[in-house]
Symmetry: C2
Subunit: 376 residues, 2 copies
Amino acid sequence: MLTRPERCWTLTEDDILALEIGAAILGTGGGGNPYIGKLRARQALRDGHKLRVVSLQALPDDAKVVSLGGIGAPLVSFERIKEGREGLRCVRALEERLGFKADAIACEEIGGQNAMEPLIVASLAGIPVVDCDGMGRAFPEMQMSTYSIYGHRSTPSVMCDPHGNVVIFDHAISEKWHERMARACVIAQGGASTLASAPMSGAFLKRFAVPNSYTRAVALGRAVMEARRNHADPIAAICEMEQGKLIHTGKIVDLKRHLRGGFVTGEAIIEGFDAYQGETGSVLIQNENLVFKRDGQVEVVVPDLIIILDIDGGEAITTEMLRYGQRVAVLAVPCHPLLRTSEALEVIGPRGFGFDDIVYRPFGADVVRNQRAGDE
Amino acid sequence: MLTRPERCWTLTEDDILALEIGAAILGTGGGGNPYIGKLRARQALRDGHKLRVVSLQALPDDAKVVSLGGIGAPLVSFERIKEGREGLRCVRALEERLGFKADAIACEEIGGQNAMEPLIVASLAGIPVVDCDGMGRAFPEMQMSTYSIYGHRSTPSVMCDPHGNVVIFDHAISEKWHERMARACVIAQGGASTLASAPMSGAFLKRFAVPNSYTRAVALGRAVMEARRNHADPIAAICEMEQGKLIHTGKIVDLKRHLRGGFVTGEAIIEGFDAYQGETGSVLIQNENLVFKRDGQVEVVVPDLIIILDIDGGEAITTEMLRYGQRVAVLAVPCHPLLRTSEALEVIGPRGFGFDDIVYRPFGADVVRNQRAGDE
């Protein structure tokens, strides 16, 4: 069905390395470390599979596209390597349940380790991945994708674990209920499974997916690699690629972090230095970096991207890897417009994470205007 | 397919009342209170549905029989009344998943409230319930049925909750894994759902089901009602019906009870009176009454039935209703031979409940021989 190979792009090992870096940055502190996924994707390549990415434009309107990703605790999937064919089993069981054939695979979230899983599954199934995702970053729950927000019902879905168990969430009365049941089930399965959702049409994806996700993440990774090679500043390279801004540099002087309801929550206090000397930044965390405050004033809020990087190498630091004394840079990147509509903000705005007293103001225009000279 | 109506028996409102009493006694402290189920079964009758029970003998070998029951915390299902058609939705979804038509419904456990659910579902579906069950009593987990023990694979199964969510456990690598995943999911669904398992054949049930469960529970209830009406001893009536023995009478003088892993666990200490003056009985509990000791010596062990009754009225007391100061009678009833094989004891013997130091000795022969005159 996908007959325009010129719109298909085949990933190389180098692309996978770049994707690992880009996906980690777009994870905004969450989404898990893509390292193991990189190894698995590379192995798929070396085994002779093709990692093909097809552009949204090249996707026929009536294509049937299955989105999938890992579900569970990123740390578990880092320590207990997947059996490897969970995702393919999900797709096959879904095809059998609904009596269709998947034309392509879509990515749920490009941030973190879930950037890799769709590529691996698609390569095993011999179909391409669509160059898009449902978040343009990482979020902790399934209903937080543009697919769900803009009306796709993700059930029937199939969840497979490394042991061989197969669960079909045949009907959920809401996307939130789907998340709730799947979350309970993945914990029973050991904490790291794979879930494939009911197929979407090409036409739906063209309207409601965040486009060019793989292109973007690979280019981002390449820019960082390039800057490192040239002894240039990787943080400046990221800002340029992502229309982002460096909003703070400093040292982590206090870190509150606890597990609550399966999430890492807390706050990192970052005492400024260089251009930010005398200013105290703080980042509120729930798996991802959600709110950036300067001297107690909210400056950047989810769904805009708040990225914490090691100040020297420009590596993304996931929330569970934050440590007292780390010297970090904080970047803000505007989220995709699909995440800024009122429907989207209901789900992934500050209220969606329990920050009832914070009003979302899009990062970009005014912040850039008020920026001080020292920022760049 | 079930063409021999002479082997079908249609329950009356009176039968339902008797079943409530009998099922509570066979619950051996667990299985939940059948009161709400009784009301729902009676309502089905009054709505014009038929509650038909077909004997195992009358069941064609190739009949397709779906076993089902409530899953979750008995207390929840007592406080939050079911929506009512969960079980029917389970059967319909299972039929659709597997492409078959159910000929009859089987009961998973005749003890407690799960005696009622199959009747209600069958009546709504217009098919009979088979006069059998998978336990001949109550047990806390799904893999503890003779169906599972003797080789039936209960997946694909369907779980429905009162909200309208439908989950298919399409494949579990073992019966224990099925239980584990379903248990996690039912908690997420609010703690009381209904689950229907993959169909069994009539031939399988004839070999491996505990037979005559409804006949037995209704007769047991009728015997108690009759004794009460005639101011006779309902406890003696139960013992006679069930080839049981009164093994202790006394007052509860100590009660340890805590929730652990979703189960009620603990111990009731019963200081003897009457013929048992000077003897201390104790009952170890995990949802059901599992072990009876006299002065520290094990006398009766699961899977044999240990039943605690109010000494005056002969009402069964569920483990969560045990109270300090209650005056109780303890009865032992031999379990069905299908529960005494080595395969069965692996799952539902003392080791299946973590009593690794207790060896199962069948209650009956020797206990009866050593019985003292005061027992009857």
